[in-house]
């Protein structure tokens, strides 16, 4: 029930935003993430953005996972 999915903020008006979730556009509330900007990815839970996703951290995690995969391959 704590499901939250990534959504891309397209357009902000007052404390609400239009956000793209997969192929569809949904109206979401930014009351819990007032600092969110257009172009940010946020985690959406029951119509509310509960956090802004951190692009750099995501890339850093993937970089680490690629290193682990390469290491595994070498050690085969």
């Amino acid at each position: 029930m704590c499901l939250a999915i990534p959504a891309l903020i397209k357009h902000i008006k007052d404390r609400e935003a239009e956000a793209a979730i997969g192929g569809i556009t949904r109206r979401i509330s930014l009351r819990l993430t007032p600092e969110a900007k257009t172009g940010d990815y946020v985690l959406v839970h029951t119509g509310y953005a509960i956090n802004i996703l951190d692009q750099e951290e995501a890339e850093e995690t993937l970089r680490l996972l690629r290193e682990i995969a390469e290491l595994a391959e070498e050690e085969g």
């Binding site: 509330s29 819990l32 956090n51 951190d54 890339e59 995690t61 996972l65 682990i68």
Partner: protein, 364 residues
Amino acid sequence: MKFITEFRSSELAEGLISQIHRKSKTSARFMEFCGGHTVTIFRYGIRRVLPSTIDMVSGPGCPICVTANADLDKAIALAQIPEVIIATFGDMLKVPGSHSSLQEVKANGADVRMVYSTMDALKIAEDNPGKSVVFLGIGFETTAPTIAASILQAEENGIKNYYVLSLHKLCPPVIRAILDSGEVKLHGLICPGHVSAIIGSHPWEFIAQDYGIPCVVSGFEPLDILQCVNMLVAQIENGESKVEIAYRRGVRPEGNQQALKLMEEVFETCPAEWRGIGEVPDSGLKVRKEYQPFDAEVAFDIDPGSPYEPEGCICGDILRGVKTPLDCWLFGKVCTPESPVGPCMVSSEGSCSAYYLYGGDFEG
């Protein structure tokens, strides 16, 4: 970066799996607290790819499953008041209370509406000024701030026919209760990702410090879980117990301060009754006095009678991590998702439903 498919790469998963196999020497049992994690683990067959040193158990992290029958009965009693419209998340409809379910009373004429968000519930209240709209506030720290926000919005917009039945539950106190009971021996905890998006990682420190159990906050994609297990194994093999975040893109150590502020403004902690676990101090949230006009407990006189537990259902033991659905003799025979006996089979995040739907993992 779409934040989803990248974290489902099978190539990267294989790397993690082989590293886990290489590193894991000590036998260890990990609990995934969150029902969302249970679903990922079963859907992607994660138990099957882990080495035999690692045993995984599911925890009580499904808000619907842990709602006590007495509380469900309150919601069902409220639904039967003629001027009341119940607004609720869909998963609640089928959950059996002591004598009935919301779905059954709805079929008998009660006005029960499924909503996606509290914003929809507020809209229903605005559109039905002659009725009282009661939103069923069920959920953990992830959901509570959204419900706090709806009460604040109702106040701002002068909506006077909107109420919340606050049955919220808080995660850290129940983990303490489970650890204190000593019923299940744990060596690592997979901490809930979206609860932590709100509360941060600090509230888990006591588990690492006082109980010496490694904690890692995980996201919900298969790579997230594997990386989390990998980090737990590394802590165990290094003899460490600390709190780490594997889900760094979504969780900051300090959490979401704005969400915590709203939650604090509207709610205060109270004891709460958990199915199978009993009353846990400071593990619930009730509406503060200042917002009493929105509190369904105060606004309505509810007397649902004494609760009754379905015979044979062992959801309570499953929620404590002491038994698995396979220990329940009703599982798959009498109790199925189509005709569920207990909440762990109704909720899509319940352990019984996960075992039933992704059966290939039974041996895990």
